[in-house]
């Protein structure tokens, strides 16, 4: 028995890779679907806030991510833009990460074509600027100073929907899709805490736990963040809430199987570790 565990203990990494690949490919290929109710939580809070926005209210949407986190954040962007455009909420898009400008443009133009919304009337993409948090503070005094033109070099003054928007305070909500820094912390610090503009957003699952303190609501106080979509699960929640299941919801079954496989690996790993007596003198390093 010990011999067997010994051999399992140092199995070749590539076998583990193959098992992992199968754990993802099989559920996707079989198009396995799993019923996933959306309970109370940050995803629902964001949906509720966006749903309550009256028509023609103005949202600043910042695409602060790059291709490396596209699989998690692009479905969120698509779901949010679809939801807002169908409630004809005006979207002013921008980006704190250079590649976010183009990724955002892809979503905005494809959703606006399908829903028939008008560029420069219902949405505009101001593109990317350097500066991160420093740029956001600059938006507090003047949007035009930071974005003299939009992505297609149309001057700020000639864009009809921006005629009555001059600073960050003129927005009813800021939505940031953030893969790291600059991202959610910068927007919460400046837009929410300094200028009092409500902030909501989505982030990769890696950084979601760190933003829960911002979500706490105190009696009669505005929370630092109105809602948060955490990782692919957050995107799937939002897709379910707006009844447009997309890539994220389809991925949930594969996500489930892969999680089980990882947990089984950890259990087996620990069994072989303890069983083969390789229990080294490990100091817990702390009471």
């Amino acid at each position: 028995m010990k011999k067997l565990l010994e051999r399992i203990g140092n199995v070749d990494r590539r076998i583990i890779f193959i098992l992992m690949a199968l754990a993802v490919i099989v559920p996707l290929a079989l198009e396995l679907t799993m019923e996933m109710p959306v309970g109370e939580g940050p995803s629902y809070d964001l949906y509720e806030y966006v749903e309550d926005l009256p028509a023609d209210s103005r949202v600043l949407m910042s695409f602060d991510y790059d291709p490396s986190t596209k699989p998690e954040l692009q479905p969120m962007a698509r779901a949010l833009v679809t939801h807002m455009m169908s409630n004809d909420v005006n979207i002013v898009a921008m980006a704190l990460w250079p590649q976010g400008a183009t990724l955002g443009q892809t979503i905005l133009s494809s959703v606006s074509d399908s829903l028939g919304t008008e560029q420069y009337q219902d949405w505009v993409n101001l593109g990317y600027k350097t500066g991160g948090q420093v740029l956001i503070v600059r938006l507090g005094s003047s949007l035009e100073a930071a974005f003299p033109t939009d992505l297609e070099e149309v001057p700020y003054g000639e864009i009809p929907m921006l005629s009555d928007i001059s600073t960050l305070r003129d927005f009813d909500l800021v939505i940031t899709l953030s893969a790291g820094d600059p991202g959610i912390p910068a927007w919460v610090m400046i837009a929410s805490d300094r200028f009092g503009v409500p902030v909501g957003g989505g982030c990769t699952a890696v950084s979601a736990p760190q933003f829960y303190p911002y979500l706490q609501e105190r009696e009669g106080e505005r929370p630092q963040m109105e809602g948060l979509l955490g990782g692919l699960r957050g995107a799937a929640d939002y897709e379910t809430l707006i009844e447009r299941p997309g890539l994220a919801a389809a991925g949930m079954s594969a996500q489930s199987i892969a999680h089980l496989v990882i947990m089984v690996f950890i259990v087996i790993g620990n069994i072989t570790f303890f069983a083969t007596g390789r229990k080294k003198r490990t100091k817990g390093g702390g009471r």
Binding site: S142, Q210, V261, G269
Partner: protein
Amino acid sequence: MRLYVPLAITFIAGMIMILEFFIPHQPFPTLGDGVKDWYTIVASSAIFLGVLNLLRVHLKKIARRRKHWRYSPVTIIGFLSMFITGVAWGVTEETPFYYLFNEMVVPMGATMFSLLAFFVASAAFRAFRASNWRASLLLASAFLVMLGRVPIGDIIWRWIPGAAESSHPYLVSEIAEWIMQVPNMAGQRAILIGAAMGVVATSLRMIFGIERSYLGGGD
């Protein structure tokens, strides 16, 4: 000149950004806006500096035939292909730049990081040990969150007879949400506060010229 002028600039720029928060009266808003506009311009030239460095490293690699030098031309060609198409035809939709970005850069970027799923899997098998009470508590909490964040957690719970009709039909995801909203929030908040004080102390040392390592170590 080599030391005291940069330290003076750091002090002035730092104090303007601090005072602008507390003093709404002119001239601070205008000074603040000035620092921010200049910051954007200088920061973008810093990014461009990174690009220059990358090209310099690869050109030197080719010149000196260093290890893997055969791949350096690929980086340079990649750079030129994006740069020239971007300059010549712009970056909006239907331009070659947009096409190259969407069809090549995006899939490569997404794939690069998806490799990590495999490394997590092999680390799960060979590295994550409940060897002390800290690690065991961490792994237990991780299991509950991983089960609760995906549909399978509740599906397994509802296989238990009577679970679906009980007061908690979706117990596993409720537990996961509770872990996120209470212990996780408390722990993350303690870390946030500690780290915030670290940032305050480090920023103070930089503005008052006590910390000079950012100047390239030249004391």
